[in-house]
Amino acid sequence: MTDSSLNISIKDVTKTYGDFYALKDVSLEVTSGEFLTLLGPSGSGKTTLLMVLAGFTNPDYGSVKFGGEEVVLKPPHLRGIGMVFQNYALFPHMSVAENVAYPQKLRGVSKEETRKSVEKALATVKLQGLGHRRVDELSGGQKQRVALARAIVFQPKILLMDEPLSALDKKLREEMQIELRQLHDSLNMTTVYVTHDQKEALTMSDRIAVINDGQLMQLGSPNEIYQRPKNAFIADFIGESSLLPAKVKGGFATIGSKKLKIAQELKKDGDFMLVVRPEKLFIANKKSRDANYFEGLVEDSIFQGESQLMVVKLNLENYGEVSLRLRLPNGSTNVGELPRVNEKIILGLKIADSYFLEAANGRD
């Protein structure tokens, strides 16, 4: 299926606005047929990068190649990309079918063929039979589907999406995430997807490129990014986590005067951060060798539907007070048996789950 998609090669792309670096020497390879997500907080440069790919923003310098062909000097209409915008950007003066037929009309496709391709595209996004509707008669989710149909009707080899689901409510958004992913798998176009929603990125992507301050921070599979964040920013931005500064020396880590076992291979001694994910902590009834333990007091216990969130205050010797969050899936535990507020609790963290990152990679 390589003929239905192209790889994208981004090299040293830099864009400044005055003194401000919106993008700083970003290099990135997107393989053919891949679903790659650009993830970052607002103002991180992820949208700028997408606009560079689309041709709406010219970088100061850098190279963008689609399938080996340099496109950075090409205007947007010659790049042959499908694009879905955040606010849909449907043409309000055209019907649904006219919107979807627009790119076909531009390409001089015959009427009969246009009609067929429009029907097919509308069917793909599950809007068959709604072609005659006016755009303003549609719900937000339907508008998003029309925008998608319009972007794929001419079978572009590259599909760009700029936070396409951000205007939808949570439930619909989560449905659409799975649908978009399935659609990508059946159409197989190279897809670059921009979002600030880390959960969305984890759900949909083959690989995630985390972008912050105009720089590529980490590129990897959702699993890698979540389990092995490269720095404190990523650990904090993706998923929930508590970061505890630790000193590593001779195969052990110390937080204050507390000693922790390490399974990870660390190249050197020095200052590190322990990344604690709330769902990796467990309540320890008895201690075993394969885990590190923390004793503390329950500060708060909150029922959140699918899970129970507990905030535990640790008082570490020579370190001070610190709070850890513990998330227990609902169903595995009987809430009545859990320690109550102000009761003592022992938290366990498997050594294999005790992930340390170099403090030098911290945000500051």
Partner: protein, 295 residues
Amino acid sequence: MVGIEQNFNQAELAQLARREHYTFFGLTLPYLVLVGAMIIVPIGWLFLLSFIGRDGSFSFENYERMINSKAYIRIFLTTFKISILTTLFCALLGYPLAYFMSQIPRKWANICMIGVLIPFWTSLLVRTYAWLVLLQKKGLVNTVAVDLGLLSEPIKFVHNTSGTLIGMVHIMLPFLILPLYANMRAIDPHCVKAASSLGATPVRAFWTVFFPLSMPGLIAGLLIVFVLCLGFYVTPAVLGGGKVIMAAMKISSNIELYFSWGAASALGVVLLVVTMLILFIASKLVSLDQFGQRS
């Protein structure tokens, strides 16, 4: 749950809602009184006057004269010709300017807007005479052009149709630009971007997406300008130099020279009816809410 019995506070809440209704209606009252007293009554009075002949009895003579007199027909033709041409030139000059203003950052657009509005706030009479000063035979334009050798002899800019048009276009331009610019600002810039990402050249994207979306503002501007032109008096009177006679000038002369309120009223009524007819046809041709809603 209360079934057949009275629900809690139902009557009181309904009364509350009614009171709110009346309060809102009350807000429109001053306007309604003003319109009633200052517009509907005088127009009704004019309408009646137009059916009163010279001898003071009911008659159609004011309308008959209009149909039979070549002078009147010529005046109507002139009025429409000047109005249509002014509207056309306003569109040709105003659309590119409004488009330019809608595409630049708001800060710069506001500065441009001041440029549009300052003449708008200046007295009509002052601007009209200013054009006379500039364009007359020994005016600034002719003097400079002749001195520089661009013209061998002065061109007759004023006291004719061209002078009237220059002045009227200048005065009417803001009325076209204001609604058009507001409309263009509201067009989602992503729509044009979407068009070009889908393969449209900039020119194609403009004509297939931007222009249709700017139609409501353009039509609103055209209508305002055209209708204002139909009843315009000062500028054609001064710059036309008595050679361009529009309906409003005839109305004025009917009253001031001939004291013929009936004839003046009839002319006014016809002008009003024609204007309303045009608005009606325009609203049928293009339903104004058909375009421009943002998705």
